[in-house]
């Protein structure tokens, strides 16, 4: 039988078996507070998105769980279970791990994949092979626009500040170092310029009139 191991914002994560293999069932359940049309549309789009991007991310050099089955009508993805801690649990003691997040994200960006939710909870260190795995591609999409890349990095920065506040600066520096390994110093500089612009634009600079 499947057992609920996590309730994310979007989906229930159940642990079970797929034949002889340990498997995660990611089930996007109906959200009772959403109007039905919107709820169905989102769950379908995200299930398809996630299932199609995961193999492509793997090709780009980011490890992702293997997909065993996709149920479009049940909004379910059955995938390889990655047994191990998430980066969220480890980063506060070991901020240097953020470099790994940087390396992975720049690999994805280099092939035009925007992760959409690069959260430390979405990076799992496999006990079996000591490799980092990336999950949760439901919000991902394809783009090579500087703007979209910079927003992905903005999300990382915000996330580190809010969820890893005691090691924020150090972790973000490690992240940037890791990121520049693939993106190059020049690429990084461009992105940071854009990031700055986004931060100034989005926030409070706004006039209430238009």
């Amino acid at each position: 039988m499947e057992k609920l191991i996590k309730r994310g914002a979007e989906a229930d994560i159940l642990l079970g078996w797929w034949g002889p293999l340990r498997a995660v069932f990611k089930v996007r359940r109906a959200k009772p507070y959403m109007v039905t049309e919107l709820d169905l549309k989102l769950r379908k789009a995200r299930t398809i998105r996630e299932a199609s991007v995961m193999p492509q991310a793997r090709k780009a050099g980011a490890n992702t769980p293997y997909i065993f089955y996709v149920g479009i009508r049940t909004f379910t993805i059955v995938m390889q279970y990655i047994d191990g801690p998430t980066m969220k649990e480890m980063l506060d003691d070991k901020p240097v791990l953020a470099a790994e997040l940087g390396r992975t994200l720049s690999k994805l960006h280099s092939v035009g994949i925007i992760h959409g939710d690069p959260n430390t909870a979405n990076f799992i260190l496999s006990d079996a092979n000591r490799l980092w795995y990336t999950v949760d591609f439901g919000l991902s999409f394809f783009s090579s626009e500087l703007e979209d890349i910079a927003v992905d990095i903005h999300i990382v920065k915000e996330m580190l500040a809010a969820q890893h506040k005691r090691v924020f600066q150090e972790a973000f520096n490690h992240f940037l170092t890791g990121y520049s390994k693939t993106a190059g110093q020049h690429g990084l500089t461009q992105i940071l310029k854009k990031l700055n612009e986004i931060e100034r634009r989005g926030r409070y600079g706004r006039q209430l009139v238009d």
């Binding site: 309730r7 994310g8 914002a9 979007e10 959200k31 009772p32 507070y33 959403m34 109007v35 049309e37 919107l38 549309k41 989102l42 969220k88 959409g116 939710d117 690069p118 959260n119 909870a121 919000l139 927003v151 992905d152 903005h154 999300i155 915000e158 996330m159 500040a161 809010a162 969820q163 506040k165 005691r166 986004i198 634009r201 989005g202 926030r203 409070y204 600079g205 706004r206 006039q207 209430l208 009139v209 238009d210």
Partner: protein
């Protein structure tokens, strides 16, 4: 009022101490508000006047500031009278220093500075958003909440940081308030259009698909505004309904993610949009699903008011922080995560 005064006087005799208290002035946008709060968190008075632009128009900063300047003297008097106190009884004068509209901010700051100099009181600049949050914590008894700040100038999720509030997620372009107001204007309502749109939405039947844009914990509403402006031939009820359903679902989703990721047990919703019943309903579901308690604040204090300035004034005062009158500043684009909040860790 007489009785309240007497009561307080007896109480002070009893304990042999005078509670600290201060006056707060809010003037970032539509509202000019004045309030007196004491260190126990008792709101001794809270009065306000709201500037209403002509229908179909947005807020005009200079018109609004003229409105504020006109109403200010009487409101200060009213607040003192309702609390049965004099300016001399105040331990400080606090004012909203930003973010907001320049001309409006300057009315509050100038007045605060004048009072501070004339009556020789310390002056305390307060961030409008921090005001919403801290007043919300006071009124709901929240200690360490995930905060949803939905005021005219902010659409943000925050959690406490180290002596600061940290942004967990936010809009990348328009705020929710701006989205609602600008849609409202497109169909002929004056700002703030929230209550009108909410009423209209109740009669909506057909859901019109609008762009739903969530990026991590961030939101984007500009595409939705563009889309809905192209659909104005449809019944306004359906559009209002669809706009609320889509925009609020986005807010609900990021709120749920914030609760799931932080494991915090309280969801505090503050700012004018917090008064919307449909949004509350959705957020109740979210809190339920994540095993958190939703902390709605009394409607009277959800929108802009003087108490949101006076109460942080008390917190700064207790932390020994104040400014000199000549240092009283305004900052139209003051970032909330740059504000020192010494009582949070």
């Amino acid at each position: 009022m007489e009785k309240g005064n007497l009561h307080r006087w007896v109480e002070q005799l009893d304990t042999g101490m005078k509670y600290k208290r201060g006056l707060g002035i809010e003037s970032t946008a539509h509202t000019f508000g004045v309030s007196i709060v004491d260190e126990r968190g008792t709101i001794l008075s809270n009065v306000k006047e709201v500037y209403k632009p002509p229908s179909g128009k947005g807020i005009h900063p200079r018109e609004a500031s003229r409105h504020h300047a006109e109403k200010a003297p009487k409101l200060i008097g009213d607040a003192l009278k309702a609390a049965a106190l004099a300016i001399d009884d105040m331990d400080f004068i606090a004012y909203s220093a930003g973010p907001g509209l320049g001309p409006c901010l300057r009315v509050g700051a100038t007045l605060a500075r004048a009072l501070s100099v004339y009556y020789n009181k310390p002056i305390i600049p307060v961030h409008h958003g921090v005001g919403h949050i801290e007043l919300g914590c006071l009124l709901t008894g929240s200690s360490d909440p995930v905060v949803l700040l939905l005021s005219g100038g902010h659409t943000m999720i925050l959690v406490s940081g180290i002596r600061s509030w940290v942004v967990f997620g936010e809009t990348l372009d328009l705020t929710l308030g701006q989205l609602i107001d600008q849609f409202g204007r497109a169909i002929g309502y004056s700002s703030p259009a929230g209550p009108s749109i909410e009423k209209l939405a109740r009669d909506g039947k057909k859901y019109v698909t609008l762009p739903y844009v969530v990026k991590g914990n961030d939101l984007s509403f500009s595409g939705m505004l563009t889309s809905i402006k192209k659909e104005l031939s449809r019944p306004y009820e359906d559009l209002a309904f669809s706009l609320q359903e889509t925009a609020f679902a986005m807010v609900a989703e990021v709120s749920e993610r914030a609760l799931a990721l932080t494991g915090k047990r309280e969801l505090l919703v503050v700012g004018g949009v917090a008064a919307n019943a449909r949004l509350s309903e959705m957020l109740n579901h979210v809190a339920d699903r994540q095993g958190a308690a939703i902390k709605p604040i009394p409607i009277a204090f959800a929108g802009d008011c003087g108490a949101q300035i006076a109460w942080p004034g008390i917190l700064y005062n207790k932390a020994g922080i104040s400014a000199k009158a000549e240092d009283a500043f305004v900052n139209q684009s003051w970032r909330i995560d740059r504000v020192s909040v010494p009582w949070r860790s």
